[in-house]
C-alpha cells in the first residue's frame, strides 16, 4: 500500500508541539500545588497565631541557602541551553552536571532540615507533634507535605536531566535538536518557581 505521509502527521518531528505539551503539563503541576496553596491559605487564615509561632521552628538560614542553591541551578540549566544552541556540547554537559550537583545539595540540606525536625519529634505520629496545638500541627503537616512533594519533584527533575545527558551523549539531543533539553529545563525551572513561593510561606512568616 502506498504509505504516504500527511504533511501534518502526528509522527513528524514538531519541537513547538513538544514544548507546548510541556508547558501544558507545567500548568497542571501549578494547579496541583495550587490545591495545597489553597489549603495553606485557609488554614493560615484560621490559625494565624499558631502558624506564626510554629514557623519559628524552621531554620531560615538553611532555607535561604537552599533558595540560593536552587536559583543557581536554574541558572546553570538556562546556561546549558545557550551552550548547546551555540554548539558547545562539552560545556553543556558540565553545566548539567553542575545542575544535578546543586539538586543533590538541595536534597542533602533538606535532609538535614527534616532530620532536625524528626529529632524534635515534629513529624505526625511523633511525641512532640501529638502534643502541639491543632494549628501548629497543621503547619508542620503542611510543611512536610508540601516540601516533601516539592522534594519529590526535585528528584524527578534531576533524573529527567540525567536522561537528557544520556541523550546528549548518544547524540540524540544535539545543537540542532535540543527540545528535550529545553523541556527538561522547563520542568526544572518550575520546580524552582514553586520553591520561590514555598520559601517565604513557611520560613518567613515572622
Amino acid at each position: 500500500m502506498a504509505n504516504f505521509v500527511l504533511a501534518n502527521s502526528g509522527h513528524n518531528r514538531d519541537d513547538e508541539a513538544s514544548k507546548f505539551g510541556m508547558w501544558l503539563f507545567l500548568f497542571t503541576e501549578l494547579l496541583l500545588f495550587g490545591g495545597l496553596f489553597l489549603v495553606y491559605t485557609i488554614y493560615r487564615y484560621l490559625n494565624s497565631e499558631a502558624f506564626l509561632h510554629a514557623s519559628y521552628e524552621l531554620n531560615v538560614i538553611m532555607g535561604t541557602v537552599n533558595t540560593v542553591v536552587l536559583l543557581t541551578s536554574s541558572l546553570t540549566v538556562a546556561l546549558s541551553i545557550t551552550a548547546l544552541q551555540k554548539g558547545h556540547v562539552k560545556l553543556t554537559m558540565w553545566l548539567l552536571v553542575a545542575t544535578i550537583l546543586f539538586a543533590l545539595t538541595f536534597l542533602v540540606i533538606k535532609y538535614f532540615e527534616w532530620s532536625a525536625k524528626f529529632e524534635h519529634g515534629l513529624f505526625p505520629g511523633m511525641d512532640h507533634y501529638e502534643h502541639l496545638p491543632a494549628g501548629e500541627k497543621m503547619f508542620f503537616f503542611l510543611y512536610f507535605f508540601m516540601t516533601g512533594l516539592h522534594g519529590l519533584h526535585v528528584i524527578v527533575g534531576g533524573v529527567l536531566l540525567g536522561f537528557v545527558m544520556r541523550d546528549i551523549k548518544k547524540k540524540k539531543t544535539t545543537p540542532d535538536n535540543y527540545v528535550y533539553l529545553e523541556n527538561g529545563g522547563l520542568y526544572w525551572h518550575l520546580v524552582d518557581i514553586i520553591w520561590i513561593f514555598l520559601f517565604p510561606l513557611f520560613y518567613l512568616i515572622h
Partner: protein, 107 residues
Amino acid sequence: MADNTNSRHLPGDPKEHHIVPYKFHIGIWVGLIILTIMTVLVSVMGISLVAFSVITAMIIASAKAVVVANYFMHLKYENKLITWLMGVTLLLFVVFISFTAFDYITR
C-alpha cells in the same frame, strides 16, 4: 516522533530560536539573588506587621517567578499563546483561592 522529516512550522511560531547570551542569564541570576536577600531581610529585620510582611514577601516572590518564567524559561521568546494560556491558568488559580477565601471571610 524523531522522524527525519522536517520540523513543522506554523504561523505564530517563533521564527528563529532565540539564543540568550550567557551574560544576560547571569545578570538575571544576580537580580534573583538580590530579591531573595531582600525578602529575607524584610522578614528577619522584623517588620512585625504580619500582613505587611506576607504581602511584600508574595510580591517579591511573584516578581522572582515572573523573571524566571520570562527569561530562564524563555516565555518572552515563545509564541504569545503560551503566555495567554498561562494567564488563564493563573486566573483560575486566583479564582479558586479567592472564592474559597470569600466563604471563610464572610462566615
